[in-house]
Subunit: 397 residues, 2 copies
Amino acid sequence: MTARCPHPDGFGFQLLLTDTASRARLGRLTTRRGVIDTPAFMPVGTRAAVKGLLPSQVRATGAQIILANTFHLLLRPGPDLVRQMGGVSRWMNWNGPLLTDSGGYQVFSLGNPRAGSTEPSAPLRRIDDDGVTFRSPVDGASIRMTPQSAVDVQVALGADIIMAFDECPPHPCPSDDLRRAVDRTLDWAARCAGHLSQICSPAGPALFGITQGGLDRELRRRCAQELQRLDFPGYAIGGLSVGEPHEEMVELLQDAVRDLPADRPRYLMGVGMPADIVEAVRHGVDMFDCVLPTRNGRNAFAFTRTGGIRLRNGRYRDDEGPLDERCACEACRGFSRSYLRHLFMTDEMSGPILVSLHNLTYYQDLMRGLREALAAGRFEEAAAAVLAVWKNESNRA
Amino acid sequence: MTARCPHPDGFGFQLLLTDTASRARLGRLTTRRGVIDTPAFMPVGTRAAVKGLLPSQVRATGAQIILANTFHLLLRPGPDLVRQMGGVSRWMNWNGPLLTDSGGYQVFSLGNPRAGSTEPSAPLRRIDDDGVTFRSPVDGASIRMTPQSAVDVQVALGADIIMAFDECPPHPCPSDDLRRAVDRTLDWAARCAGHLSQICSPAGPALFGITQGGLDRELRRRCAQELQRLDFPGYAIGGLSVGEPHEEMVELLQDAVRDLPADRPRYLMGVGMPADIVEAVRHGVDMFDCVLPTRNGRNAFAFTRTGGIRLRNGRYRDDEGPLDERCACEACRGFSRSYLRHLFMTDEMSGPILVSLHNLTYYQDLMRGLREALAAGRFEEAAAAVLAVWKNESNRA
């Protein structure tokens, strides 16, 4: 592993402040398309659309960057069309910073059909040292993904930040398999960095490395250390929040963050509930993405400053109050819990739309609150207030 | 029939202009909650929600009044809750003029299961001279609707304009049945007017009478004449556009409108395609409602100044143009046909949302164009331009 990852023009991370009482950091990420204040939450726009919301509404929540999923866009409509249309960000009229994942997580999830799934048990994917071959869930076509092609697709999608192609082992995972997954992840990270530097340095996107290693501290440490020899402009922590208890995740995260360089942004992938995010920020994570605000929003669950609200509950039938008294989003300014409940009870699209809008606003307000608390030197106090609400098991989604 | 319909405070219709070349009229309808320029198109908010759109978006299309369906709101959540929440308009944060239908159309549609329906053939409703008893499609409960209760429910819903409870015969319909339906419609209209004047004149809503009579000219004339003895503040034409050819509808409409008083607003219920609307305006209709812009929007069909666009068609895959070059809606300002097609191909909610938004904008632009043409004395020219596009069979939805 000798190739170093290119550090593209226009990309940078400025560490503004590290909390004295915790390891939380205030920072600013700069990309070609705009600035992102960290700690930051990235709404998920899987198929070049944040489910239920227009880009103007996503922006109104305070979001400064969104995520799109390479796997889904590779299947439909394919990277060539997206490139022809000017890239995801322009095509979907977001026109702001965009991060794409590598597709690894989704490809490796294909092999783990959920309990009760009616899918055939025939293997949906074959992994080898050079990549993965899998059948398209859309049309059954055989698709080959390699570290190089994952970079090619993400470059075609026009992201500002792209992710290395990693092997995401299931949880739990036998230690031999876990070690092999980490070795592959490291090898593939080097191939991604080398390929990117060949095809578009220094004008291309910033490539982040991903640490794997399941719940094995030593393996994660080795992965983090070896990745750093490639000098990525940012690092992600993958393979957490995959079913392990919250406390175990938080404990492991402490060490996982400590093994990463202080001057690079740290991204905890796919996390999570408000309590997970606050704990991760406290331990030094800068970036997050998660489908929970929109998925829960579609499912009638609202995040509020006083906990979760399950709108289908009959207690809200004649509740004239807003979802959250202190929220300024369009849902809270204009609509009562009573009306929102009615929308869900009658399957009106406006229910998922409004609660998704509110939930994303809640997440952005949460992040802004943490940033303001960091700047004011009262982070632990702010964190404790959020945790007091969300550590309560009955408030979890 | 001696009771006269109350003319509530704050309601009025001002006839500003009648076209010299056609029978088209420019007018202004005033309600307690605001003014509506006519000819007007009313978006349908069946269950106190225009499907897929927030009230702020509906307002941005130019709509000045919306319609809600009494039948659906009677079933869920019921009129008592809506009244407690301040009425439909406030509850859904529309806060503008609202018209409710009487529920008659839906109740009488219950007896006509569509071809291929798996519903049991047992009678879903029983009609008698005092009203209708039917089973709730939501929970099977037996529900009784009478002219009086239809008024009560609409008053509870808080509409500015309410409709008399009418019997809507199927099409085609034996002449005896048709005559009986008209007799009942007249009797029920008198009961509605009498009941409304007892419970809330002059502070209540304006009640419109509805003419029925299928495709029978003489019957429709008698219905219109007898209704006028009740002196309604507005008149609707019901039972058209129920499957008869466009030309037949337009021909019948001419007579049906002629039988109505010139100084009262005329409302053609449930119509229609752009060509239907233009023809009806030409013959003197002032108000319209229809689910087509939103239903077709959810189904990937866009109305444009050059005709219909079926977005699932592969020809739009890489079409970088907007739905309609001359449209200023958010969908046309921000998104290409290519992207909109992608949203439908991947079942993203934003597809139905954006095309519904566009279609409602198209309908409002259509009505504004007709009003401006009327004011400028070039109505026939404007009407011909729209008809040239939409009389082309391939452009019909």
